[in-house]
């Protein structure tokens, strides 16, 4: 029982991270109807920025924790949203209006480029960071097993909740959010109403990237290590989360993330840790076969 509770805590933490990344997939799909295959790498780049920044901060003996984490977050968000902007500008915009496959290929190209660049400049080996946030609270003890929730986990869940609330407000209540949704529904009409559709699409890529950046920093603090391949693995999982929740749906992305996180945690704990990634792929295939519109997605056809 205690062991299961611990898995629940771990799974929710992981799920929050996947959910943050999944939002980027779902929003970009919503607005241009295509998957951004370079999105997972944005997360990876952010993690590396976090490693570099934390190491630098440690070298300068900056120990105030909130200060350090805030500084790293701002740096990571800045660089990764610039990268999100560049992906749209270089891989998607020039190919808008061509075949559907072309931008996907150029996005995969961007993704490979980025992995290799990080591998060349940072090395292929796993990079550790100095421990940032240690300790936690013991919440329950039973049968020699202690259920613990670490400060990092608390931080991840809190940050995710705050971001989700802010983000939901942005999309549902502000003029920008309205224009963003308008572009999703009819970009030609949106332009006729005086809105710069290109700029709205850029902003969407950047917002998705910023959320993935936060996820990247959180994961770095959580695991304490990164390598250049984490973007691919986390990207696939977050993509599965987005599809499971219903691609295009924001609450769906978050829900899908939580479910994937929980499944992964329990699978690793009770079945086999080596094959935990298989679980995700199995879900992806099952969802695509039996419920392609996902849990909260809407079916493609609708009365207009």
């Amino acid at each position: 029982m205690a062991y299961a509770l611990q898995q629940l805590i771990n799974g929710l933490t992981l799920g929050a991270v996947y959910g943050l990344i999944a939002i980027g997939y779902t929003m970009v799909y919503g607005i241009i109807g295509m998957i951004n295959f370079a999105h997972g790498d944005i997360f990876m780049v952010s993690a590396f920025i976090a490693v570099t920044a934390f190491t630098l901060l440690a070298a300068f003996d900056i120990t105030s924790l909130p200060l350090a984490i805030t500084a790293v977050l701002i740096t990571a968000i800045f660089f990764t949203s610039a990268y999100g902007w560049a992906v749209e500008r270089m891989a998607y915009r020039p190919l808008r209006g061509s075949t559907r496959l072309a931008p996907l290929i150029s996005a995969i190209g961007m993704s490979i480029f980025l992995q290799n660049m990080v591998q060349l400049t940072q090395g292929a080996r796993v990079k550790p960071i100095p421990p940032v946030l240690e300790g936690g609270i013991e919440i329950w003890q039973s049968g020699g097993f202690t259920v613990q929730i670490s400060w990092t986990q608390i931080m991840i869940v809190l940050v995710t909740i705050v971001l989700m609330v802010a983000f939901t407000y942005l999309i549902t209540q502000t003029a920008f959010g309205r224009q963003q949704r308008a572009c999703e529904q009819d970009s030609t009409m949106t332009a006729l109403l005086g809105i710069n559709v290109d700029r709205t699409i850029s902003a969407t890529f950047m917002l998705g990237a910023a959320l993935a950046a936060v996820a990247g920093v959180m994961v770095t603090v959580y695991y304490g290590v990164v390598d250049f391949f984490i973007g691919f693995v986390a990207g696939i999982k977050a993509f599965t989360a987005a599809v499971l929740g219903g691609i295009g749906s924001l609450p769906g992305a978050m829900l899908g993330g939580l479910i994937i996180g929980l499944i992964e945690a329990f699978w690793a704990a009770y079945l086999s840790p080596e094959y935990k990634d298989v679980a995700t792929f199995a879900i992806l295939i099952l969802v695509l076969m039996f419920r392609p519109s996902g849990l909260l997605g809407r079916p493609e056809v609708e009365k207009v």
Binding site: A175, A182, Q185, D186, M189, L192, L193, G194
Partner: protein, 237 residues
């Protein structure tokens, strides 16, 4: 002169949809475009927004050449469109749709503008919080017109506003077009299948055929013209 199109050609790929049209709209006029399906009426309206852009010729609005101005900057100059098929945002509320018409409007005007739209279409006020996709066809048409009016346009483009509507709605739409023109001084360019109604409400009209203007004149003249009668009025549509 409010709008002047001069020798405008437009293409969709290799389809030559407009073949050198000349159209003028004076301030305070209602001008109508009539023509058979596929004649190029919608294309002519959309070409003002550069969708598709004029491949040659010139479009002058309010004294300025707008031929190469990007689509999203056209409405700022004072043109609003109720496009073919209404194109409301189905997954937004009625209120949100109306707000979409105010992207660059002065927020100080909002209360007055929404009041004016609600006075014209009381049903929109009742349904303000309802998803626009669930409105009836006629209500969606009213919403599309209301959205266009929220930007206080100088020139209002209406592409088949009566299409698919019950006679009672059609009457109301034409009544509103006349009202906008006489009471609010709105200049209107109107595309209609319903040539009879359109020519009666319009000051002037153009007949478009295969992307070319083949006939022009006052509403009365066109109503009386034997070609127009034969092709568009007596069972011609």
């Amino acid at each position: 002169m409010m709008l002047h199109m001069e020798g405008v050609h437009a293409h969709y790929g290799h389809i030559h949809a407009l073949r050198g049209v000349d159209v003028t709209v004076q301030v305070g006029e209602i001008v109508t475009l009539i023509g058979a399906n596929g004649a190029g009426k919608s294309t002519l309206m959309m070409s003002l927004f550069g969708k598709p852009g004029a491949s040659s010729g010139r479009i002058v609005f309010d004294g300025e050449d707008i031929t190469r101005v990007p689509s999203h900057l056209i409405s700022r100059r004072g043109i609003a469109i109720v496009p073919e098929g209404r194109r409301i945002f189905p997954r937004m509320t009625v209120m949100e749709n109306l707000l979409m018409g105010t992207a660059f409007a002065d927020p100080a005007n909002f209360n007055a503008d929404i009041k004016r739209v609600y006075a014209m279409f009381p049903i929109l006020e009742e349904r303000a919080a309802q998803r626009a996709g669930t409105l009836s066809g006629g209500e969606q048409q009213m919403l599309a017109i209301g959205r266009a009016l929220m930007s206080r346009p100088k020139l209002l483009l209406l592409d088949e506003p009566s299409l698919g509507l019950a006679p009672i709605y059609i009457k109301r739409i034409f009544q509103i077009i006349r009202e906008l023109n006489t009471e609010h001084g709105m200049t209107v360019l109107l595309v209609e299948q319903n040539a009879h109604h359109a020519l009666r409400v319009a000051h002037r009209g153009y007949v478009l055929q295969h992307g070319e203007i083949v006939l022009a004149g006052s509403g009365q003249e066109l109503l009386a013209s034997p070609e127009v009668r034969a092709a568009y009025l007596e069972g011609g549509h």
